[in-house]
Every structure is written in C-alpha cells, then in structure tokens.
C-alpha cells in the first residue's frame, strides 16, 4: 500500500469520525429537532461509510460489486441532500413569513428550472459517449450537483437581496452543502468527460478533502453558540433625535 492510498484512507475515515462527533453534538444540544433531515443525513453518511468500509475490507467483494454499492448509497445520499436543502429553505421562510407565498413560488420556479437544466445537460451535453455505468452515473450526478449548487446559491443571493438573516446553524449547513455540491459539479463533469481512469484517485482525493473541510465547517457552526444579543452599533440619544426629525420631515414636508 503506497503513501497515496494511506492518505486516501486517512481522508476517507477522518471525515466520518468527525461526522460521528457532529451527530453527538446535534443530539446532545437537541438540534436534531430543529434540523431533523440534516441529522438523518449525517447518520446516513456514517452508516454508508461503515457499509462501504466493510465491503472494501472483505476480500471476496469485487471492485464492480463495491462500485455498485457505492453508487447505490450515493443516490440516496443525494436525495437526502435535497431534503436538507428543503429544510434550509423552510427555516428561511420562517424568518420571512410575510413573503412566504412569493418566496415559495419563486423558489419552486428556480428549483424546477435547475432540475430541468440538469436533466437536459445530462442528456444533451457532450462528453464520453460510452454507455458505461460509471459515466452514466457521473452524468446524472453532474446534473443533480448543478441543481443543488444553483439552488443554494440562489437562496444565498435571495437572502442578501431581501436583507434576510440566516440562523448560524442553518447558514453553516447551507455553506457546507453548497461547497460539496459545487465541488461535485466540477468533479463529475471531469469524470463524465474523461474516459481515462488515471485521474480517478486524484478526483477522489479532492472530493474527500472537500468533504473533510465541510464536515469541519459543520462542526464549527454547530459547536459555536447562536448570538444571544444583536450585534448592533450603539446609537446615541442625539442621533435618535436626528432620525426622528428626518421622519417628521418626510411625513410633514
């Protein structure tokens, strides 16, 4: 086993150990009630890792069998990520309840457009024309990553545009998920285009290092307490008088 494989194993195991820490944090702080889908996602990722790690260690399991297991578990993971995004969206709607209907409609339109764009890109975009299983899965994942990344970016843009504030925990989740989806988009695009398998270990390494970074980000956001008090600049009495005077001027010109 060369140093590259040792590194790959290290960055494969470590994020899942950290996911265990994250799950404990979520449980002990009662945050699993606030973000149940994210909690299920974290638990699922740990279980998925245990299964794949066991399959990797069993000598009788062939590479092809392992690959099928990997992509089958990945498919469910992607579905759960959509659930987490929905959870993030619902949390934002709670902040902006006066514009719920308008926001819900516009976001549904964006979600539908992105999904259609992802599917069209998967069907028509040029790439490796071989009909291998791995290429097919990469093409589908590329489309889904595009939809997830685009949707999260749209949420961030919309919140900035409307001046909505994210809860610390929810922003952390969205940030981590956005990074994973964006890196997945690039990686699966390269995978779908290149038929050579020489790049695969390096792409896997990038993906696992990204995953490690995102899990660390989630832990940082979950572990840090939500701001208790508003971080507002103090306003003096004089300034308040000027402010009120200006409003009077507006109302009675």
């Amino acid at each position: 086993m060369n140093s590259h494989w040792v590194l790959l194993f290290f960055v494969w195991i470590l994020p899942h150990l950290l996911l265990g820490v994250l799950a404990v944090f979520l449980w002990r702080r009662g945050l699993y009630r606030e973000v149940p889908c994210f909690f299920v996602y974290v638990c699922y990722e740990i279980a998925e890792f245990c299964l794949l790690f066991a399959l990797r260690l069993i000598p009788s399991v062939t590479n092809q069998q392992y690959r099928y297991a990997y992509y089958a578990t990945l498919a469910f993971s992607v579905v759960l990520r959509f659930g987490v995004i929905e959870e993030v969206f619902r949390d934002l709607l709670r902040e902006a309840h006066v514009v719920q209907v308008a926001m819900r409609r516009s976001l549904r339109i964006v979600q539908g457009t992105l999904l259609i764009a992802g599917i069209l890109f998967a069907v028509y975009a040029p790439g490796d024309n071989s009909v291998s299983f791995v290429t097919g899965v990469s093409v589908v994942n590329r489309g889904l990553a595009m939809a997830q990344s685009g949707f999260l970016l749209f949420l961030i843009f919309l919140c900035s545009f409307l001046g909505l504030s994210w809860r610390r925990l929810v922003f952390g989740i969205a940030l981590g998920l956005g990074v994973i989806a964006s890196v997945d988009l690039g990686i699966f695009a390269v995978r779908a285009a290149l038929s050579s398998s020489a790049w695969v270990p390096y792409l896997d390494l990038i993906r696992t290092v990204t995953y490690l970074t995102c899990v660390s980000t989630w832990i940082a956001y979950v572990a840090a307490p939500e701001h208790a008090a508003a971080p507002l600049t103090t306003i003096s009495n004089e300034e308040l008088k000027v402010w009120n005077k200006e409003f009077q001027r507006l109302l009675r010109p």
């Binding site: 902006a96 001046g163 504030s165 990074v179 890196v183 988009l185 695009a189 701001h227 009120n244 507006l250």
Partner: protein
C-alpha cells in the same frame, strides 16, 4: 482524426465551463461566509440609508396629474422623451427605497435576536414592514421598466410603494416605537 478533434473540443469546452462554474460557485460561497463573519449591522448607517429618499420629489415624478399635464402640453415625441427621463429618475428613487427597506430589514432581524422582548417585538415589526416594502420596490421597478420601454403605459404600483414607505415611517414614529431603537449599551433614548 479531424472528426476526433471536432467532437473532443466541444466536450472539453463544456467540461471546463462546468469546472469554471463550480469554482465560481465556491468563490461566491466563500465570499458570503467571510462577509457574514465580518459584517456588523451599523444602525446609524442603516438609518441614514432609510432617510435618504426624498419622498416628495419621488411622488412628483410619478404623479398622474403631472403626467396628464405634460401629455397635454407637449408634442408626443417630446412627451415620450421626457416620460422616459422621469421614469428613469423614478427608477433610481425606487432603488433607493429598496435599499432603505433592505437596511431596515437587517436592523429588524438584528433586533429580533435581542434578549429584550420589547426590542424583539419591535424587530419583528420592522422586519415585516421592511420586507413588504422591499418586495413592493421590486414590483415597482418592473412596472417602471415597462413604462420606460412603453411610455404610454401607466401603472399605480409606484404610488402604492410611496404610500407604503410613508406607512413604514409612521410605524417607526409611533409613540413607544423609538424605545425599541435603544440598543444594548446605549444611554437611553
């Protein structure tokens, strides 16, 4: 060989375009995370932003009576040109109102996280009013853009926006509201 190159090139262009999009998305996420960490709601600055729009000048620009007068007095070509200029100026005002509303939303959301229930309640009110105002500004911008393209068109959305802006200001001036403006650490209002 040539056929190979011709199919390879679009494939690689599409692939590297997606990689570029992915990097751009990562950059945007990093920027928003850094901005969130470093940004503080500067109440004074946000209030100044809310004071900025001159409501009367804005109302004058979209006044239907004024528009009727101009339509009667000017030749059609001159009227269309002037209407476009006025609409453009109204668009600038609408953008300012939108910015002011966004500033107030941020103040409201920051207040909602306060430990003091009174400030929290004020924050909820500010945030809700400001959000409605912000959406109204977006809607008004679309209507004004349509009026800019078709000067004969007339919409009342902008007048409704101005009225809403006034209402927001009145809400802020209600007795007891200013108490909510007192921030942690201030000496009292």
């Amino acid at each position: 060989m040539e056929q190979g190159i011709s199919t390879f090139a679009p494939a690689m262009i599409a692939t590297w375009s997606l990689v570029a999009v992915s990097l751009l998305a990562l950059g945007t996420l990093a920027y928003s995370a850094i901005r969130r960490r470093t940004r503080q709601v500067d109440l004074k600055r946000e209030m100044e932003a809310f004071q900025a729009p001159d409501v009367e000048a804005f109302r004058n620009l979209v006044d239907p009576a004024e528009e009727d007068y101009l339509r009667d007095q000017l030749p059609p070509a001159r009227f269309r040109s002037l209407k476009r200029q006025r609409t453009w100026a109204a668009l600038v005002y609408t953008r300012e109102v939108g910015r002011a509303a966004r500033a107030l939303t941020m103040v409201g959301h920051a207040q909602k996280r306060s430990a003091d229930p009174a400030i929290q309640a004020t924050g909820v009110q500010y945030a809700d009013d400001a959000l409605r105002l912000r959406l109204g500004a977006v809607q008004a911008s679309f209507c004004l853009a349509a009026e800019f393209v078709l000067p004969g068109l007339r919409t009342r959305t902008v007048l409704a926006l101005i009225d809403r802006y006034r209402q927001s200001a009145e809400t802020l001036l209600q007795p007891g509201r200013s108490a909510g403006m007192e921030m942690p650490g201030s000496k009292g209002a």
